[in-house]
């Protein structure tokens, strides 16, 4: 890995710039961090990124902030946490401060509305592209278990509207039971 100060600087600038574009919920920053830290900088591998997403998701608080914390910790320890949290909250703080000063002018501006409307499609494309890569990774494992978990989880949150906390806990429990079961079988042989 590169020099500490370079890592710190890149970490801060990355979370800062990514945070400016996290319209539409925490998973957007997860997708952006995946393209930045996994695909471009190669600081984290894809499995680790998914593990970190699970940590961010199953903790209290905003997923975007949690995601920044866990990536910051992985890359640079406690200083990394401070740096990436600062990067993640500065843009929304500054933008909201400005907007709370001139709310009426902002909300009725049609150019602002059109820009945001178009960016919504762009964000959708980014998430679709990231999911494409990740789902291809799961399919490549050729594991019935993984495919089953992926499909059931998707149905659970999309169709049956199950709270994500239960999906995370159920998937983790399924993994633990499967490991215990295969270890037990291994001993009996």
């Amino acid at each position: 890995m590169e020099k500490k100060s370079t890592v710190w600087k890149k970490l801060f600038l990355s979370t800062l710039s990514l945070s400016m574009f996290t319209f539409g919920g925490g998973y957007v920053i997860i997708s952006l961090m995946k393209t930045k830290f996994v695909d471009q900088l190669h600081w984290i591998n894809e499995d680790e990124m998914l593990d970190m997403t699970a940590i961010a998701q199953s903790s209290p608080g905003a997923i975007a902030v949690n995601g920044a914390i866990v990536v910051g910790y992985k890359l640079a320890g406690l200083p990394g946490v401070l740096i990436s949290v600062l990067g993640a909250i500065l843009p929304p703080m500054m933008i909201l401060s400005l907007i709370s000063l001139c709310y009426d002018a902002f909300i009725s501006n049609s150019a602002v509305a059109a820009m945001l409307k178009g960016m919504e499609s762009g964000i959708g494309a980014v998430i679709a592209s990231v999911v494409w890569d990740m789902a291809a990774g799961v399919v490549k494992q050729k594991s019935f278990f993984s495919g089953f978990i992926m499909i059931v989880s998707f149905l659970a949150c999309m169709v049956w509207k199950v709270n994500v906390i239960w999906i995370i806990l159920a998937a983790a429990a399924a993994g633990v039971i499967r490991t215990m079961w295969s270890e037990k079988r291994g001993r009996q042989k």
Partner: protein, 190 residues
């Protein structure tokens, strides 16, 4: 002491909003509209609208907005720190355990099952965003007039650019935004 009240209110919001995003909304409402009456119900609706239009988590946006309105810039900082402090402690703890124990068989088993589940959760978030983008009323209803054809074009274009070129996500998003702005200006919708 207004700063302490702001800090404690947003500390609770940060500590008890599991599941992110809209999960925090009822908590924020309970604290700042019903409890302290820092915002009226209509001001709260405005805050949600702003949060949807601007980047950043809704809880952080709410902390900045309410803090500024109630106690100025320092209020914004105090409320935001309160809101993210539980995350910092909890997530750092989990990250520590993860880096330390990730080689354990049982944790490996749990993580192995979590990964496909997380892919599904991200996919679901993407579908939600696309439904909002593609349909005028924000619901999956295939009625003429409800389908936003331009949004679908920008999506396909963005997806192809991301897959086939080296263009990063941020330029692609900005491009989609600019195209929509230009298109609605040219078509006289503004």
């Amino acid at each position: 002491m207004i700063y302490l009240q702001l800090f404690l209110s947003f500390l609770q919001i940060g500590a008890f909003s599991f599941g992110g995003g809209y999960a925090a909304m009822p908590l924020i409402q309970a604290q700042i509209v019903d409890g302290h009456q820092w915002l009226s119900a209509s001001e709260f609706t405005n805050l949600i609208t702003i949060s949807q239009m601007t980047p950043g988590p809704i809880a952080v946006n709410a902390a900045t907005f309410v803090g500024t309105q109630i106690a100025g810039p320092l209020g914004a900082v105090v409320a935001t720190v309160g809101c993210i402090l539980p995350s910092c402690i909890f997530v750092t703890g989990l990250a520590y355990l993860y880096t330390r124990y990730r080689k354990l068989d049982l944790l490996q088993g749990a993580l192995g099952a979590l990964r496909p589940a997380v892919v599904a959760l991200i996919a679901q978030a993407g579908v939600d965003i696309l439904i909002t983008a593609f349909f005028e009323n924000g619901m999956f209803e295939l009625i003429p007039g409800n389908i936003q054809a331009r949004a679908i074009v920008w999506f396909v274009l963005g997806f192809v650019l991301l897959r086939k070129t080296k263009l990063g996500p941020v330029p692609v998003m900005l491009l989609c935004g600019v195209l929509e702005t230009v298109a609605s200006a040219v078509l006289g919708e503004m």
